[in-house]
Symmetry: C2
């Protein structure tokens, strides 16, 4: 029973994560979520206390995987700046693709201006990753291995922005790519590798190969 309870809670969290990512926090009613999960509405409150509690539980479940993925790479003294950045991109794209619902959900919620505890929590979690990328690039610029005129901040914006475009607006991406991005198979099999290759080539040409800056 203990096992089954966890399974049920996990099932609810899976469903809620998807519904929230598709309709937004406000747009997803507890009735719909419980209906999609085939559980009684009261179970949401029984397990998670409230709608917000359910929302927070989704994050707490994922929080471990967010912890120190990039930090360990960044602390490695033996790697070059480019190898660090390259590896960070690989790892990050992998994780985003694997948790696309979650990342979509996170990005929509954090784009809202309403101040709440959960909003701050999310912001801090994302910022950890953002600043980790910033550090890798900044270090590379400082130690001379990257183009000294590089715009570090906007470079980070490109990394997160490119990924967000694909994950957050799959309808647009699907029509741009003329493929069904929403299909998990295509996302994991094709887009994943393709994005990695592209992102690294893009960053390398800007940060490393970039040596003529005649006219911007």
């Amino acid at each position: 029973m203990e096992k089954e309870k966890t399974d049920k809670k996990d099932h609810i969290l899976d469903v809620a994560e998807k519904v929230f990512s598709e309709l937004g926090y406000d747009g997803a009613s507890t009735r719909l979520i419980s209906g999609e999960a085939n559980v009684n509405m009261a179970m949401l409150n029984y397990y998670f206390g409230s709608k917000e509690g359910l929302f927070i539980a989704i994050f707490e479940r994922k929080i471990n995987s967010f912890k120190t993925l990039l930090q360990n790479i960044n602390e490695d003294e033996t790697m070059s700046s480019w190898d660090k950045l390259s590896l960070c991109v690989d790892k990050y794209v992998d994780r985003v693709v694997l948790n696309s619902y979650f990342h979509k959900l996170v990005n929509r919620e954090v784009s809202l201006s309403k101040h709440s505890e959960i909003n701050d929590t999310i912001t801090n979690i994302i910022m950890t990753n953002i600043l980790e990328f910033k550090k890798v690039i900044q270090d590379g610029v400082n130690n001379g291995s990257f183009f000294e005129g590089a715009d570090t901040e906007l470079c980070v914006a490109t990394i997160f922005g490119t990924k967000n475009f694909i994950i957050n607006t799959p309808q647009l991406a699907s029509r741009l790519f003329e493929k069904d991005i929403l299909s998990a198979a295509y996302l994991e099999n094709e887009i994943n590798e393709r994005t990695k290759i592209y992102m690294k080539r893009l960053l390398k040409s800007y940060l490393v190969t970039n040596n003529d800056q005649t006219n911007p």
Copy 2:
């Protein structure tokens, strides 16, 4: 009187655009919007028929500026592919910065999965711009002025994604830049030009200067 009526409707649209962009469609109640605009709640329905009508009216007001900004550039036979792309980036960044609330609103709404007429309308409007950028780049690749191995689609994702990151999640961008991105002044004076310069340098190094592709 006729004049003042238009002004009042315009005022409501201004306020609604901002509130929607901050709280999302579902999160923004008609009571709050009318309160912020200092008009009676019933006026929203009187003028715009419904909440959705108000939402649509926001788009109809902006729709003209969306029409053929990029198309004219693209059709110009005398310009090089790079000059076209460069000009498109300039024009697009300008417009986004000038209508940051609107673009934030658009991007959040289009990321929702709920099918509606307005959602389709918005998607088509955005796609016009997206495909215009795609065409510029694709033409450049085809006529040999851009790197033949370029990932056209992801390149477009970068252009829109980078801009979206700044506009959609200004809290994150503010902490990344260590400046207040939400401040309209900073956005228009600094970020605007800086983004143009960065974006063009990034694209140029990837599309034009890119000639070594040893390891991705």
